[in-house]
Amino acid sequence: MPKASPEEMQAMAKRWMDWFGSIAAQNKLSERGNRLVPGAGKVVRPNNVVTDGPYMEIKESIGGYAIVKANSVEEAAELAKGCPVFIYGGNVEVREVMAM
C-alpha cells in the first residue's frame, strides 16, 4: 500500500470513526476492538518453535476486529457493509462469537 499523506490518513481515520459511530448510534457496538499492527508478528508452533509471522509472505492479513451486537449473522453482515476496509481492497469476515 502506498504511503498516504497526512490529509488522506486523517480522512481515512474519519471514515473509520463514522463507521463505528454509525454502528454505535444503532446501539449495536459491543466493543470497538483494536487494530493489529501490520507485519511484526510471531507464530508459535508446537515444540517451542517460534517463527516470524506467516503474514509477511501472504497477501492477506487480519487488520483488526470489532465486536457488534446483532440478532443474526445477516444483521451483522449488514453492519459490515459500511466498513472502510473496502477502500483498501480488503474484506470483512463476519463470525459469531460463542459466549463463554
Binding site: K14, M17, G21, A24, A25, Q26
Partner: protein
C-alpha cells in the same frame, strides 16, 4: 449585607449557612443522626428569626448563627448523655482530650465537611433521583416544597423519598468522611453523575419555574466547583463537567422564553449568550485537558464548546460529528444517537443522514420523529409531515407539543 432588609436577611443566610452548619454537624454526629443535626440547625434559624425580629439583626449574623448552633449542640449533648457518649467515643480519637465536644465551624472544617457530604449524598446505594433529592436537601439547603416543585411532584413523595434515602445510608453504614485518596476515583463517577443529573434537572426540566431551574443549575455548578477547589478531587473529568455546565448555562437566558418555553438553538438570540460563562467554560476545558482519561464529560464539554461558536461552518459540524462518534463508542444513549445524526446532516447533508436515521429506529421517541421531520423537510415533505405528526402524538409536555405544532404549520406553508 447592611442594606439587606430584615425579611431578606434570614432567607439569604439560610441559603448560604444552613448547609454549612448541617454538614459540620452531620460529620460530627455520623450518618445515624442526620435528623438531629437538621433539627439543631432549623431551631437555630427559628431562634434567629424570633430574636432578630424583635431586637434587630446582630452585627455579625453568620457568626451569631454559628455560636447559637454550637450552644444548641452542647445543650443537646448535655441533655442526651447517652448520645453524647456514643459520639464522643469516636470523636475523642480525633480531637484533644477536652471533655466538651467543640463544634468546629472553621472555614477549613466547613469545606471538608461539605466535601464529605457530597460523597455521602451521591452514594450509589441510593437511586439517582434520591441522590439528587438528598443533595438538594442536605448540600443546597432546599426545602421539601422546593424540591417537590423542581421534580414536578408533591411534598409527600419527596418527603418519603428523602426518608427512605437517609434510612438506606444508615443501613449501609455509610461513613461521613472524606474518602481515602485511593477510593476517590471509584466514588467520583457516581458523584459526577449525580451533579450532572442535578444540572440537567434544572436545564431540561419541564417545570415553568425559570428562577428555580436556574438555581438548580447554579447549585450543581457550585458543588462541582467545590470539587475542583479541593486538591484531592480536582480531577480532569471534574473540570470537564464544570466546563460543560458553564457552556450550557451560557445559553440559559437565550433558550428560555418569557414563559419558560424552550427556544431552539437555531432560533436563539446569540447576543443573549453569556460570554463570561463561555470564557470560564474554555478555562475549565483547558484544565480538563490533562491526564490520559477521556471521559464522556470531556466529549460533551467539547461538543458544547463547538456549539458556542456562532458560525455554522462545515468544520464546526464535522468536529461535533466526530465527538458524537467517540461519545457513542464510549456509551450509547438515544439522545447522543439522535444528535449524532443531526450533526451528520449538517456535515454531510440530509440524504446520508436520512439513511442513518432510518437505521437508529427509535420509533417510540418523539425526538426521533422530530429529527426525521427536520431531515425530510424539503426532501420529501409528505414524509416530514408524517413524522412530525407522530412526534406530536408522542410528545408529553405542552412546550414540546407547541414546538412541534409550529413546525407542522411551517411545513404546510
Amino acid at each position: 449585607m447592611l442594606l439587606m432588609e430584615q425579611s431578606e436577611l434570614i432567607p439569604h443566610l439560610f441559603r448560604t449557612e444552613y448547609r454549612k452548619i448541617v454538614a459540620v454537624l452531620c460529620k460530627l454526629f455520623g450518618i445515624e443522626h442526620i435528623e438531629i443535626a437538621e433539627d439543631i440547625v432549623s431551631n437555630t434559624f427559628l431562634q434567629a428569626s424570633e430574636l432578630w425580629g424583635v431586637k434587630g439583626a446582630p452585627p455579625n449574623p453568620a457568626g451569631w448563627l454559628y455560636t447559637a448552633a454550637k450552644n444548641k449542640t452542647r445543650d443537646y449533648l448535655k441533655r442526651n448523655a447517652n448520645f453524647a457518649q456514643n459520639i464522643s467515643k469516636e470523636f475523642t480519637l480525633r480531637t484533644t482530650s477536652t471533655e466538651e465536644i467543640d463544634v468546629d465551624l472553621s472555614d477549613k472544617n466547613i469545606s471538608d465537611s461539605q466535601l464529605a457530604m457530597i460523597f455521602v449524598t451521591c452514594h450509589p446505594c441510593n437511586p439517582a433521583d434520591a441522590q439528587i433529592g438528598l443533595a438538594l436537601n442536605l448540600l443546597c439547603g432546599f426545602g421539601i416544597d422546593e424540591i417537590a416543585r423542581a421534580f414536578l411532584t408533591n411534598r409527600e413523595v419527596i418527603y418519603k423519598r428523602l426518608q427512605r434515602a437517609k434510612e438506606k445510608l444508615r443501613e449501609e453504614r455509610v461513613r461521613i468522611e472524606e474518602p481515602a485518596l485511593n477510593e476517590i476515583d471509584n466514588r467520583m463517577t457516581s458523584v459526577l453523575m449525580t451533579l450532572y443529573l442535578l444540572f440537567n434537572e434544572g436545564y431540561y426540566s419541564a417545570s415553568q419555574d425559570v428562577t428555580l431551574r436556574k438555581e438548580l443549575c447554579l447549585e450543581a455548578m457550585r458543588l462541582t466547583y467545590m470539587l475542583t477547589d479541593h486538591p484531592a478531587t480536582n480531577k480532569p473529568e471534574v473540570n470537564a463537567l464544570l466546563s460543560l455546565m458553564c457552556f450550557h448555562s451560557s445559553r440559559f437566558d437565550a433558550r428560555l422564553g418569557y414563559h419558560g418555553e424552550t427556544i431552539l438553538y437555531d432560533e436563539q438570540d446569540r447576543d443573549l449568550w453569556n460570554q463570561e460563562l463561555i470564557t470560564r467554560g474554555e478555562y475549565f476545558l483547558n484544565l480538563a485537558s490533562q491526564g490520559n482519561k477521556l471521559s464522556k464529560f470531556h466529549l460533551e464539554a467539547a461538543i458544547a464548546y463547538w456549539h458556542t461558536t456562532k458560525e455554522n461552518s462545515t468544520e464546526k459540524w464535522e468536529n461535533i460529528l466526530q465527538l458524537y462518534n467517540q461519545l457513542l463508542i464510549i456509551e450509547y444513549s438515544p439522545m447522543a444517537a439522535l444528535n449524532r445524526t443531526y450533526a451528520l446532516s449538517k456535515a454531510h447533508g440530509k440524504e446520508q443522514a436520512i439513511v442513518e436515521a432510518e437505521k437508529i429506529n427509535l420509533v417510540g421517541n418523539h425526538l426521533y420523529h422530530c429529527l426525521l421531520g427536520e431531515l425530510y423537510n424539503g426532501v420529501n415533505n409528505a414524509r416530514a409531515l408524517f413524522h412530525l405528526q407522530q412526534a406530536l402524538s408522542l410528545a408529553q409536555s405542552a412546550g414540546d407539543k407547541a414546538i412541534i405544532s409550529n413546525k407542522i404549520s411551517q411545513l404546510n406553508h
